[in-house]
């Protein structure tokens, strides 16, 4: 696969992430080399404070990197202007919305903003993309409801539909499964897997659901000891990358079943 480099959606070269405070640098992780291709579902995992959100913020351009380079569709992230970036990366965040008084369809329609004119007029093509996004996540039945009438699980699907309507080669989700029960966690992650295959979009998400991610993802990014390990789940299991993920010996990784167990 010599051409794999040219259609990479997201690539980093010896990326260092962290926070700058005046002259001091608070390094979160270094040596991050990842390469994500269209149609791949990738999870970022790590303990609390390992830097999952910092990584996602850096990859999406919210936060500046300490060193190294991020490439979005083979263009340097640092040289991409915000309106172009909005056509390349869409996001599902944990941030609270200002208004849940929007209807589902209105919220999904906001995903078309990077493409609309100065006052936000939707063209026929925009409407088509909005309807398509709504069908993909299967929320036609609630499309005219107001967002404050939805359950957490439904609302998460709506946010995913909004990101789909933005029609970007890469979708980044920050902990899309928090506040959901086990069934809905599995449902949302399964939905992401389905979407990545059906739309050929790369989907990157941070999650604490390691067991689910191991079963569903094409690749994983493990953040531990200020470093990032990147590879497909089988490889990572073989190299025993999970064995010392958590401190102490409360939980251990069972090589055979590829899952975490309580001792």
């Amino acid at each position: 696969m010599t051409a794999s480099n040219s259609n990479s959606v997201l690539k980093t070269e010896s990326l260092k992430i962290g926070y700058r405070k005046k002259n001091k640098v608070n390094l979160i992780a270094k040596d991050i080399n990842i390469d994500i291709n269209p149609g791949e579902l990738v999870a970022v995992i790590g303990v609390n404070g390992a830097g999952k959100s910092t990584l996602l913020k850096t990859l999406s351009g919210i936060l500046q990197s300490i060193d190294g380079e991020v490439f979005i569709s083979n263009n340097k992230l640092s040289k991409t202007d915000p309106s172009d970036l909005a056509k390349n990366i869409s996001m599902v965040l944990t941030e609270q919305l200002l208004s849940k008084n929007l209807s589902v369809i209105e919220l999904v329609a906001l995903g078309r903003q990077p493409y609309t004119n100065w006052i936000g007029r939707l063209t026929k093509n925009d409407l088509k993309k909005i309807m398509h996004a709504i069908q993909l996540v299967n929320i036609e039945d609630i499309k005219n409801k107001k967002c404050h009438e939805l359950s957490d699980g439904q609302f998460q699907k709506v946010l995913i539909a909004r990101a789909l309507a933005q029609d970007t080669p890469l979708i980044i989700l920050d902990e899309p499964t928090t506040h959901l029960d086990l069934y809905h966690k599995a449902y949302v992650l399964k939905l992401l897997q389905k979407l990545s295959k059906e739309t050929n979009k790369a989907i990157l998400f941070a999650s604490h659901e390691i067991n689910l991610a191991l079963q569903l993802c094409d690749k994983l990014i493990i953040l531990k000891d200020k470093k990032a390990l990147f590879g497909n789940p089988q490889e990572l299991v073989k190299t025993r990358a999970f064995n010392d993920l958590f401190p102490g010996n409360l939980i251990h990784f069972d090589q055979e079943s590829s899952s975490f167990k309580i001792k």
Partner: protein
């Protein structure tokens, strides 16, 4: 956006209501003029009595236009502030603009006793009032803009605006403490607000500020909608947060600053009208809200002005008291009746 067609009808109704209340506003007063005569006069046709025409052209019409500008301008600033600060309690006053204007005016009225008599002679003319209150709001505006450039957090700007408000209020009360009753009274009268004292020249200047402020607001509609998702989402949609925030603050300052300068610190309208409109039109989309709030603000102000005149009598009440006397019960009634707070 979608589903907006069903609100187009409501907006047209609101617009017609503006025209209707405008006609009533011009028709009613210490001398009642028949609506038909008002219409002929406005269309430049023959009017039964020349005095009517004189009253309409020189008093009632500029007053009605001032009411429309004041109501719509303050209401739009309120809407912009509520979305920008993600806070249903926000209004034009939260940036400290009205307080800045009040400080300017307080210095003009009451500064004489503190700074000496010659000071008063220079300053006590009608234009000096306008200039002083504009300078006051501008001063606060620059402080807020400086803060907004330095600060990344919108909430911090809100706090700074409120701090400026109490700071200027404190200076005003110190001035008031040292002022003789007559000067204090002048200040108090200004603070009641007034729509009727404007000449056509002044209405012209006020309209200029209003047009610029309204145009910036309309240009911000798309970005205001993206802010409904929160700042991070807005950024991910390609919105330039700082530029957008700057535009919104400028629009609000132009509107609230110029209106306070010419019509006094009119409270309540900026805060209440967006909530009234949201109860009537349950949409969060600014493409609906901005025009609805413009018309709603104009209607409320025209109605309040009619009541303040007490039609058929010689007396008139302070407009600032009427806006709250009428507006507050309406907001309470709507909230209680619908049992739901749309924001």
């Amino acid at each position: 956006m979608l589903n907006q067609r069903k609100y187009t009808f409501s907006i047209i109704l609101l617009f017609l209501a503006v025209i209707l209340t405008g006609l009533f506003n011009i028709s009613l007063g210490s001398v009642n003029i028949p609506i038909s005569e008002v219409i002929s006069s406005l269309l430049g046709l023959e009017v039964e009595k020349d005095t009517w025409k004189y009253i309409i052209v020189n008093y009632r019409l500029p007053k009605a236009i001032t009411a429309i500008i004041t109501g719509s301008g303050l209401a739009v600033s309120g809407l912009l502030m509520q979305t920008l600060f993600r806070n249903p309690l926000a209004g034009p006053y939260v940036l400290g603009l009205s307080s800045g204007a009040s400080l300017g005016v307080a210095i003009v009225f009451m500064g004489a006793s503190v700074f000496g008599a010659s000071f008063a002679v220079i300053l006590l003319s009608k234009w000096s009032l306008v200039i002083a209150s504009s300078l006051g709001s501008l001063l606060v505006l620059f402080a807020v803009i400086l803060a907004s450039i330095r600060l990344r957090d919108t909430m911090a700007i809100l706090i700074i605006g409120l701090m400026f408000a109490s700071l200027t209020a404190a200076i005003v009360s110190v001035l008031a403490y040292f002022s003789p009753a007559s000067q204090l009274q002048q200040y108090v009268f200004w603070s009641y607000g007034s729509l009727g004292d404007l000449s056509w020249d002044e209405v012209g200047i006020l309209s200029l500020f209003w047009i610029v402020g309204i145009l910036i607001s309309i240009g911000s509609i798309k970005n205001l909608n993206s802010l409904l998702l929160g700042e991070q989402y807005a950024r991910s949609l390609g919105t330039n947060i700082k530029k957008n925030r700057f535009a919104i603050i400028i629009a609000t300052s132009l509107l609230a600053g110029s209106i306070t300068a010419f019509a006094g610190p009119i409270a309540f309208v900026g805060l209440a009208v967006p909530h009234l409109i949201r109860q009537i039109i349950p949409s969060a989309n600014h493409i609906t809200l901005v025009p609805a709030v413009i018309f709603g603000g104009a209607i409320l102000m025209l109605l309040c002005d009619i009541i303040a005149q007490i039609p058929g009598s010689e007396y008139s009440l302070p407009i600032n008291a009427i806006t709250s006397l009428i507006g507050a019960p309406v907001v309470i009634w709507l909230l209680v009746r619908k049992r739901k707070f749309n924001f």
